[in-house]
């Protein structure tokens, strides 16, 4: 008889794994990805493919030759995920070398220098986007309008809902908001914007999938969405020049951020209480930046700011300990 293994309990495991979770998120992103291909055509496909390929390459290269990780981490799916999310935050007509630069920053600087998956402070895809926004402001903020599948570099570009909103606030003129696309159009994605942000329906399908598979819990996305609705609703009631809450919710990267970016395991708080605080702060910051800040879009900066606060939130928000409430 072979020797018996002696190890400590528990002797069984749920069978969950890091790659199951990562590929779960990737599956949840498929509807939005297909929509982006449909709306932005070849440009979207090239940007996504290139972004994924370069993220995976940098992860493998840095892991193997610079960190010399004994366990390769490329196979866990996290680099693919970062690649897709980064692409989702880019316009489809962006010059391709910029995509590679963004991926290098996301994986090389934001993720691997901190020690790889699990140790990074900021969401790599979002930090990559912020880096690109600061380095290439023009290319990052001209978006082709959707529905032009075969045009790439010279595509017609157009105002996005967010820039319309900003203009209305700047001019103090509510009538400018009449240029906003209709709500059903925004829901389906018939507007300008980055690859993955435009189709709200596809993103919500992804959310439902992740909740059903217990990849994430409702706390972060719901607290962001509710905060945005309440806060922008109050502003809209106070003065008509502020956009109405539904337009706020459906425009820009709000849903993409709330569902896929803010919920990133590594950079979000660990307790339910902390997650709700985090979500509420992201919601408030987003609307503040959108309304009064220098950039039309506030979602990615709001999430990055709160990423920086996550360790602090973890320090102060403890779970409800057993027996805490019954102190007699």
């Amino acid at each position: 008889m072979n020797k018996l293994t002696v190890s400590l309990s528990p002797h069984v495991h749920s069978g969950d794994s890091v790659s199951k979770n990562m590929y779960g998120v990737i599956i949840a992103l498929v509807p939005a990805m297909l929509c982006s291909f449909w709306f932005f055509g070849i440009g979207a496909i090239t940007v996504t493919a290139l972004s994924v390929a370069s993220c995976v390459f940098f992860e493998w290269f840095i892991g193997k030759y610079m960190l010399r990780n004994p366990q390769p981490t490329v196979t866990d799916g996290s680099a693919i995920l970062t690649g897709i999310l980064l692409a989702f935050n880019l316009p489809s007509n962006i010059p391709l070398w910029m995509v590679v630069a963004g991926s290098l920053f996301a994986i090389g600087v934001v993720k691997m220098t901190f020690g790889g998956l699990g140790c990074n402070l900021f969401n790599p895809a979002l930090a990559g986007r912020a880096f690109m926004l600061i380095s290439f402001p023009v290319q990052m903020t001209t978006w082709p309008t959707s529905g032009q599948p075969f045009l790439t570099l010279d595509a017609a570009t157009g105002a996005t809902p967010l820039s319309v909103m900003k203009a209305a606030v700047k001019a103090g003129d509510p009538s400018l908001l009449n240029d906003m696309p209709s709500l059903p159009d925004m829901l389906l994605g018939m507007t300008g914007g980055c690859l993955g942000e435009v189709c709200a329906v596809a993103l919500i399908i992804g959310l439902i999938y992740m909740l059903a598979k217990r990849i994430i819990t409702w706390h972060i996305p719901v607290s962001i969405i509710v905060t945005v609705l309440v806060f922008s609703g109050a502003l809209h009631l106070a003065n008509g020049m502020y956009a109405d809450p539904m337009s706020q919710l459906l425009s820009g990267g709000l849903l993409l951020g709330a569902i896929f970016m803010a919920t990133d395991y590594v950079t979000s708080p660990m307790t339910k209480k902390g997650q709700i605080i985090y979500g509420v702060c992201i919601g408030v910051l987003t609307i503040v930046i959108r309304t009064w800040g220098a950039y039309p879009e506030g979602m990615s900066f709001a999430i990055l700011i709160m990423n920086a606060f996550t360790p602090l939130i973890n320090n102060y928000c403890k779970p409800k300990r057993f027996g805490e409430e019954v102190k007699k």
Partner: protein
């Protein structure tokens, strides 16, 4: 349906032996009795080599208040006072007895008739506690805490109810389930005895909803007496943990250690213990046999046995078709909290609820990777702790922070490690931290 409020997981139930009636196991050739098969001081042997003993004769007496007497389960001759490897994996002092025939102590009532509480109006609470203490009864769910100690709560605390733990939340195990189906009347009387001993008028029998037949039968029996309510609970691990069970049944949470369950008015006893109490008080039969589940996916036929304590586990495995070729691990108890045994020669003790055979491919952990901070361990922890943080502190030996983060509340249920997608050895590290911190606290208090 009721359940506890914080955390928990739902491992695959795998109750393979649920339909197997309890079979009487054969007598061993040599029975071995470790002196420490309960929490507390080891028992002191009162026999010597060459002594003749009978079934039910005391062979070692309690070594203190928190300790328990040990009785021979066989008749025969004391072979030696030596050691044996017990479920902890270490060599521990033990009494070995060569089995000759099967002669019982004359005062034990071996009839199958049920003796109801009304038949013994003379019994006082004190008598019952004395009887339980004398019979060497400990918690049979696996914790093995001496039963009489729980029935004598510290001054100032007032018990209000007795909760019988029949949830059997560990996967695979079915010993308690079968016991309820086959000895429901005895369990009801045992519960009434425990209630009387504790001086309370309310008793609950808590059963998880994956045992509908047991719930139905116990409800039927409970209707014939006063004060016992059967509480069906939603299936959720670790519902059988004392604190979780009290929360689930009466909605009260025991404060952090050193508070005892009785501080919220509850006394918990395992259903097997209730049965043993009945036998001790009504039948004069001390604790020397128990029901053990022998199970595993690779085992020929999984069974529930009524086993004399001291029987080697290998004999039970042989009775189920023998140890399969591809066995990688043998566990004493269930898969979540049981102990992996170094050899199958370990004797059945008071706390042995099951023997679980695992195939080699099920026996090894997957390699751990870095924590991805998914917070699943935090959601799973039934004590509201943060296992990812505690394990990180243990790795850096930051005991002070671990104490502040309440590592001493950990009940070692394993939910965190069970659920971790990165396969991190969370409980190993938390356990290390917990015992270190307990040591620090102890030395601080004695200063």
């Amino acid at each position: 349906m009721k359940t506890f409020r914080i955390g928990g997981v739902h491992p695959a139930e795998n109750k393979l032996s649920a339909d197997q009636p309890i079979k009487v196991a054969e007598l061993p050739r040599v029975a071995v009795f470790p002196l420490s098969q309960h929490i507390g001081a080891p028992a002191k042997p009162i026999v010597k080599k060459g002594d003749k003993v009978k079934v039910g004769q005391m062979i070692a007496e309690a070594g203190g208040f928190v300790s328990a007497n040990i009785f021979s389960s066989v008749s025969g001759t004391v072979l030696k006072l030596d050691t044996c490897i017990d479920a902890s994996g270490y060599d521990k002092p033990a009494i070995h007895i060569t089995v000759e025939g099967d002669e019982w102590m004359p005062e034990i009532d071996r009839s199958k008739d049920i003796v109801r509480l009304e038949a013994r109006p003379d019994l006082t609470g004190r008598d019952i506690v004395e009887k339980i203490k004398g019979a060497g009864i400990v918690g049979l769910g696996g914790a093995t805490f001496p039963c009489h100690v729980k029935l004598c709560p510290p001054p100032g605390s007032k018990p209000e109810c007795v909760i019988i733990n029949a949830v059997e939340c560990e996967p695979y195990l079915t010993a308690d389930h079968r016991l309820m189906l086959e000895h429901a009347d005895e369990i009801i009387v045992g519960t009434l005895l425990l209630m009387k001993a504790a001086g309370v008028s309310q008793g609950y029998i808590a059963i998880e909803s994956n045992k509908p037949d047991a719930i139905q039968l116990m409800q039927l029996k409970a209707m014939t007496v006063y004060g016992i309510e059967v509480v069906p609970l939603k299936v959720r691990y670790p519902q059988g943990g004392e604190k979780q069970l009290i929360d689930a049944v009466i909605g009260r949470q025991v404060p952090a250690p050193p508070a005892l369950p009785v501080s919220v008015g509850a006394i918990i006893q395992n259903v097997g213990t209730a049965f043993a109490v009945y036998e001790a008080v009504m039948k004069n039969k001390p604790l020397f046999e128990r029901v053990v589940t022998v199970t595993g996916k690779s085992l020929g036929n999984c069974q529930n046995f009524l086993v004399r304590l001291g029987t080697p586990m290998s004999q039970l495995i042989d009775a189920c078709g023998g140890l399969p070729e591809d066995t990688g691990k043998v566990i004493g108890g269930g898969p979540m909290m049981g102990k992996a045994l170094p050899t199958t020669e370990v004797p059945v003790c008071k706390g042995s609820s099951g023997v679980l055979i695992m195939r080699d491919e099920e026996s090894h952990r997957k390699p751990a990777s870095t924590c991805i901070r998914c917070a699943k361990c935090v959601s799973a922890c039934p004590m509201g702790l943060e296992p990812y943080l505690l394990s990180a502190c243990a790795e850096t030996q930051n005991w002070e922070k671990m104490e502040k983060e309440m590592v001493t509340s950990c009940i070692e249920c394993g939910c965190c490690q069970f659920t971790c997608p990165a396969n991190r050895p969370l409980l190993d590290l938390v356990r290390l931290g917990k015992s270190t911190v307990m040591g620090i606290i102890k030395s601080r208090n004695t200063k």
